[in-house]
């Protein structure tokens, strides 16, 4: 097991390196510097600025400095557009908001998704099953950037139950819509996933044995079927996080939440290269690490994988 973890960690290093390198050199491909504003700067000032941001050095040296600073100081450099902030500071500013949003959405998605999936599986081929699966189809097909404005239009504008946008210092009222919108596609995917695996588990021999020895339906489901049936959820953790991260770009933008995703989109629109790079590296690391954790957990939980 330890060997497996070490091997996976070592495998993640080249991946991360490629991500950092690809991001860095793609950004450097862009013509012009980050300071080509409407106003022409006097050459000496421009030279000073470039020196301050290490832009006067050769590209490979800049890359070395960049990677070195990340590894030693966790420093992603200064933000090119938000002059008084470093990228790390901006990320730290946004992190609590994004983390809160993501965790709440993830929790909601796992609970509601599993509940719907198990319900549908226990009532396979009944109207309950069909309605859950059609709702899941809607959730998977309709993207976040459509559900978000629609729900806002209905619940926020027409009915006036919830605020249309804004963070409101994280008040529950302000978080409901973003969290629900972000969780919807994940709820849909998880309920499909859980339904499929539960149906398979319910047909398997050990469930028949459990029934044969006279356990009640509830005992069979709670004690035996659920454990095996929810297992695929663990390996879905990684992709789910990736989905939430992508979704948060849209959700934070639409609802005006001051999270990392919003900084990222603003950065991309303003060509704030260092900020964009920093966020991509952060997200990629996050996704790789969580994928790793998911795989390890899966091995711990499923004896078949451990032996195989």
């Amino acid at each position: 097991m330890l060997g497996y973890i070490v091997r996976r960690l070592l495998g993640a290093i080249p991946t991360l390196f490629i991500i950092v390198a690809a991001t860095f050199f793609m950004m450097r491909l862009a013509p012009g510097g980050p300071f080509d504003g409407e106003r022409r700067l006097p050459p000496e000032i421009e030279r000073n600025i470039k020196a301050a941001y290490n832009l006067d050095k050769p590209v490979y040296e800049q890359f070395g400095i960049y990677v070195g600073n990340i590894l030693t100081k966790g420093d992603f450099g200064p933000s090119f557009k938000n002059k008084d902030f470093s990228v790390s500071e901006l990320i730290m500013l946004g992190a609590p908001v994004s983390l809160k949003l993501g965790l709440m959405a993830m929790t909601l998605a796992v609970f509601i998704g599993s509940f719907l999936g198990v319900t549908a599986a226990l009532r396979q081929n009944t109207p309950t099953d069909y309605s859950v699966m059609s709702i899941a189809m809607v959730g998977i097909t309709i993207p976040t950037f459509v559900t978000a404005p629609f729900l806002t239009l209905i619940l926020g504008v027409y009915l006036g139950w919830l605020p249309v946008a804004g963070y409101g210092d994280g008040a529950a009222r302000n978080m409901i819509l973003p969290v629900v919108v972000l969780a919807l596609p994940q709820i849909a995917i998880i309920s499909r996933l859980v339904r499929g695996s539960m149906i398979e588990v319910l047909r398997s021999n050990f469930i028949r044995t459990a029934r044969a020895k006279g356990l009640t339906d509830a005992q069979v489901v709670w004690r035996h079927a659920l454990r095996a049936g929810l297992l695929p959820l663990v390996s879905y953790l990684g992709p789910a996080i990736a989905g939430l991260v992508t979704g948060s770009l849209v959700v934070e933008q639409i609802f005006g939440l001051p999270g990392i995703g919003r900084y990222f989109v603003q950065g991309a629109l303003n060509r704030d290269y260092t900020l964009v790079m920093g966020v991509v590296i952060l997200y990629a690391t996050l996704i790789i690490v969580l994928n790793l954790i998911a795989d390890v957990m899966y091995r711990v939980l499923d004896p078949r994988v451990r032996l195989g």
Partner: protein, 371 residues
């Protein structure tokens, strides 16, 4: 008790059985697909949408980027261009007629009747009423309304469909081409080449691809060549397609690995057929089933990816439009002009549903396990 059949009857039954034709995989799949109602309905709806998108220029009198200054932000209605019936006086005389922009919203029938009354044969125009030409149905134009700068929403949705659908199809073809070649090569050659090639795919897979597309779109936004809307359009194709091929490569590789061990491939090798020819002639045709299913599911995901980029402002640029752009504009204006959000979103949702139903239908139809 059944009577024993006569010799003749038995013979007849046997020949009848022989006359039942065997069905090929494809005939079988088609039959199963056409029995799936959701898939059939989806195919019909999708063909209509595609036809509308192709015929878009001839379906409306409006250009997709033309602004109608008389009808800025008008709700869906058969609004008349009131410049033909002196509008301010008319509005005073008809308080029930809603004002939209500088035009007045009313039904064609009402407008025609009013015109007949005021300016028709035998009528004498009252004080201050200037008679224009007789209103025609052509004046009742923006039946899905107009956007915030007075462009016809219906035409923009159709032009958005052209962009969104063609991005979906072209990027899928890019993904298909790279993915099938890459996957078939890796799977067929196998061994070390295979593990290196698939290791590369694994690494790419770990990346949150949408971020790389975003970086690419950001970086190229300043390059003069990519400022041209058409070139930017091509770049979107390439960027999205270049990422979506990974899954395709994985699927094809898996299929190829299993086909490579089949006898007919061995026979081809024994007959001295070159590797290239075996991949192109024998392997690829046999992996096409799962690939088709994947293609129908990739198109909607690429349409989504493009809309996602456009929604964030990184995709197609004005005056070109796509469903993502329209939804984004609609979301900004939804409190006062909800139709700008509802119609494009509806159109896109219907299209995505259709693709998904067709994909599911194809998967069921082509899955030999399900027979």
């Amino acid at each position: 008790m059944a009577l024993p059949l006569s010799q003749d009857a038995k013979l007849e039954a046997m020949t009848a059985a022989q006359e039942v034709k065997g069905r090929s995989l494809w005939q079988d799949a088609r039959r199963r697909l056409f029995r799936n109602k959701a898939a059939v309905v989806s195919m019909i709806i999708l063909s209509i949408i595609v036809a509308l998108a192709i015929l878009a220029p001839s379906l409306s009198r409006h250009a997709y980027d033309a602004q109608d200054y008389n009808q800025v932000g008008c709700p869906p209605s058969w609004a008349i261009d009131m410049t033909k019936l002196d509008d301010l006086d008319y509005a005073d005389a008809n308080p029930e007629a809603a004002i939209c922009g500088q035009g007045i919203v009313m039904s064609f029938e009402t407008a025609l009747a009013d015109w007949e009354l005021a300016c028709g044969e035998g009528a004498s125009p009252g004080d201050g009423v200037v008679c224009g030409a007789k209103p025609t149905i052509d004046d009742f134009k923006h039946f899905l309304g107009t956007d915030a700068v007075g462009r016809d929403l219906w035409v923009r949705i159709l032009y958005g469909a052209r962009v969104s659908l063609s991005v979906g199809v072209v990027a899928t073809v890019v993904a298909l081409f790279i993915g099938v070649l890459y996957g078939a090569t890796a799977g067929y050659i196998g061994g070390r080449v295979d593990s290196v090639m698939m290791r590369f795919v694994d690494i790419m897979y770990a990346l949150p691809f949408i971020f790389f597309v975003i970086i690419l779109m950001t970086v190229t936004a300043d390059i003069p060549f990519f400022k041209d809307p058409f070139n930017r359009f091509i770049l979107i194709f390439a960027a999205i397609g270049a990422v979506e091929w990974l899954t395709m490569a994985r699927i094809v590789r898996g299929q190829t690995l299993s086909i490579r061990r089949k006898e007919f491939v061995e026979a081809a090798v024994a007959a001295g057929v070159s590797n290239r020819a075996i991949i192109v002639r024998h392997v690829i045709p046999n992996v096409i089933g799962p690939v088709i299913v994947f293609v129908t599911l990739t198109i909607p995901s690429i349409i989504l990816a493009e809309s996602f980029l456009s929604f964030l402002g990184l995709g197609v640029q004005e005056p070109m439009t796509s469903w993502g752009v329209l939804i984004s504009e609609g979301a900004n204006e939804m409190e006062t002009k909800p139709w700008m959000l509802i119609f494009p979103a509806l159109m896109m949702a219907v299209t995505l549903f259709c693709f998904n139903f067709i994909g599911d239908g194809l998967r069921d139809a082509l899955d030999p396990k399900d027979r």
